[in-house]
């Protein structure tokens, strides 16, 4: 082969997210959970120190997981491993990259360290970022994010915020496609988003990267709902390992994500799953404890 080889291009970074589509990415805190997730059909696992429900319950500063734990998870499974770094913490991101993590989630679930996000273009490893709306998604893509997910409200087992974010994103994309070229600069100003990306979305009618659902997904029906709303795939955080029977629930969510249009199959996989995680109503969470408002 001639020396035409390039690593870390947009195509290579975004490409891995393309391969995860139609799949479920599961939060895990150790190698044993990672193996359960892989066995259940997860397309990837997300390594973190505590699942969002525990972060919410215990409070304090939430940081990147222990690199030794991340390494154990990498060694335990053959599927891609993601890990969370704090918003703006480019050193945590470099540490995770050096371990060979396959995707970094610059995540509002952890405690932010900066009002600015990481310059993700400077990395070979790809990043996924959360977004509540189109402007936020395009700002993150402008910084180099190769994948987007809804923020939802993590650790609640309540999917309402993920639904809200997805509907907002879809609605704003539809709106852009109806505008004349003369109107797009003003739209970019309103969205606080880079004009080139605004033009691209107006032309294609979709985000330039894959968009997954995340935040509060707890049941197979939640996963299928998000897929029907147009998400490309599913992140499940606390929903699996905070439930009564994680292996069975994990398998059911994987199957509901593939057969998301088939209500009879969703009914079948949802039967006898045992207890779902305990949910939290969003309006009982004080505004300053809402993770979705971190890092806009």
């Amino acid at each position: 082969m001639e020396n035409t080889t390039e690593r870390g291009t947009d195509r290579v970074k975004r490409g891995l997210a393309e391969m995860l589509k139609g799949g479920v990415i599961m939060d895990v805190v150790n190698a044993e959970q990672a193996k359960i997730a892989e066995e259940a059909g997860a397309v990837s696992v997300m390594a973190l120190e505590r699942v969002p429900a525990d972060i919410r319950a215990e409070g304090g500063v939430a940081r990147m997981a222990d690199p030794g734990k991340v390494q154990e998870i990498i060694d335990a499974v053959s599927i891609p491993v993601m890990a969370k770094a704090r918003i703006g913490h480019f050193v945590e991101a470099r540490v995770l990259e050096s371990l060979g993590v396959d995707y970094i989630d610059e995540s509002e679930v952890l405690t932010p360290v900066d009002e600015f996000h990481v310059d993700k273009r400077a990395f070979t490893v790809p990043f996924v970022n959360g977004a509540k709306d189109l402007g936020e998604a395009l700002r993150r893509i402008g910084e180099g994010a190769a994948m987007i997910r809804t923020k939802g409200e993590p650790g609640t087992g309540n999917v309402v915020e993920a639904v809200r974010h997805m509907r907002m994103m879809n609605g704003q994309i539809r709106w852009l496609t109806t505008l004349d070229p003369e109107e797009l600069m003003n739209a970019a100003k309103e969205l606080r988003a880079p004009i080139d990306l605004v033009r691209e979305v107006a032309d294609t009618g979709k985000l330039p990267v894959v968009n997954f659902a995340a935040g509060g997904i707890a049941t197979p029906s939640d996963a299928a709902l998000m897929m029907q709303l147009g998400c490309d795939g599913i992140f499940v955080g606390s929903g699996i390992f905070k439930s009564g029977d994680p292996a069975v629930r994990a398998r059911a969510i994987v199957e509901a994500t593939t057969y998301y249009q088939d209500a009879a199959k969703i009914a079948e996989v949802s039967s006898g799953l045992g207890e779902a995680m305990v949910g939290i109503n969003i309006d009982t969470i004080p505004a300053e404890e809402r993770m979705q408002d971190r890092g806009n």
Binding site: T4, T5, E18, M19, K21, G22, G41, I79, G100, T258
Partner: protein, 195 residues
């Protein structure tokens, strides 16, 4: 012609777009009923363990194997190549075992080692831009398998096949569906027309 794309998980929409660019009818295949209606099948990129597991639970492995054995052309990319193969160098996972090769998964390393490069493929007059994402390569080929392209092992282990053909089975380690270069998809459709 109806070209099915196995739509259990992965980048099946990109393959359906390639099929549409070639003016053929693309069909998402998730059930044995859908499989029965197609003239050729594409197995997309994705996670081979996930695709294999879903195919096993929903009883698709034997029906796909039977169709391929009775001559239906099939094209697998990346995870699709792994699913078609007779084995891997790692732990056992559900596979069709119709393509007589042993693959090594994630052979080039992790995502930071993923790359794109120009690749010469036998039968194509100019190179393809090939996108390798946590890609497999072929460790061992059987006698009936033609190697159409290979790449050098960065670790000095010689040339490993990355595009192979065995009768009406075509497989690549990389993702032609991501680059809008539809020459290998055309090859599949030609195979189906001959059949």
């Amino acid at each position: 012609m109806r070209v099915g794309v196995l739509a259990l998980q992965g980048d099946f929409r990109e393959h359906l777009a390639a099929v549409a660019r070639l003016d053929q009818e693309g069909v998402e295949v998730r059930t044995t009923d859908e499989l029965a209606t197609v003239d050729a099948l594409i197995i997309p990129g994705g996670e081979s363990t996930t695709i294999g597991r879903l195919a096993r639970i929903y009883g698709l492995i034997d029906p796909i194997r039977e169709r391929v054995k009775s001559g239906m052309p099939v094209f697998g990319t990346c995870a699709g190549m792994i699913f078609l193969a007779s084995g891997t160098t790692g732990p056992e996972q559900p596979q069709l075992g119709v393509l007589d090769v042993i693959v090594e998964r994630n052979a080039f390393g992790r995502q930071v080692d993923s790359f794109e490069a120009d690749l010469r493929v036998e039968g194509l007059d100019t190179p393809m831009r090939a996108v390798f994402i946590r890609a497999p390569w072929i460790e061992k080929v059987g006698g009936a398998v033609d190697v159409l392209a290979g790449v050098e092992d960065p670790g000095g282990g010689g040339i490993h096949p990355v595009v192979v053909r065995q009768d009406r089975i075509l497989a690549t380690s990389f993702h032609p569906e991501l680059t809008h270069d539809d020459r290998l998809h055309s090859m599949l459709i030609e195979l189906a027309e001959e059949h």
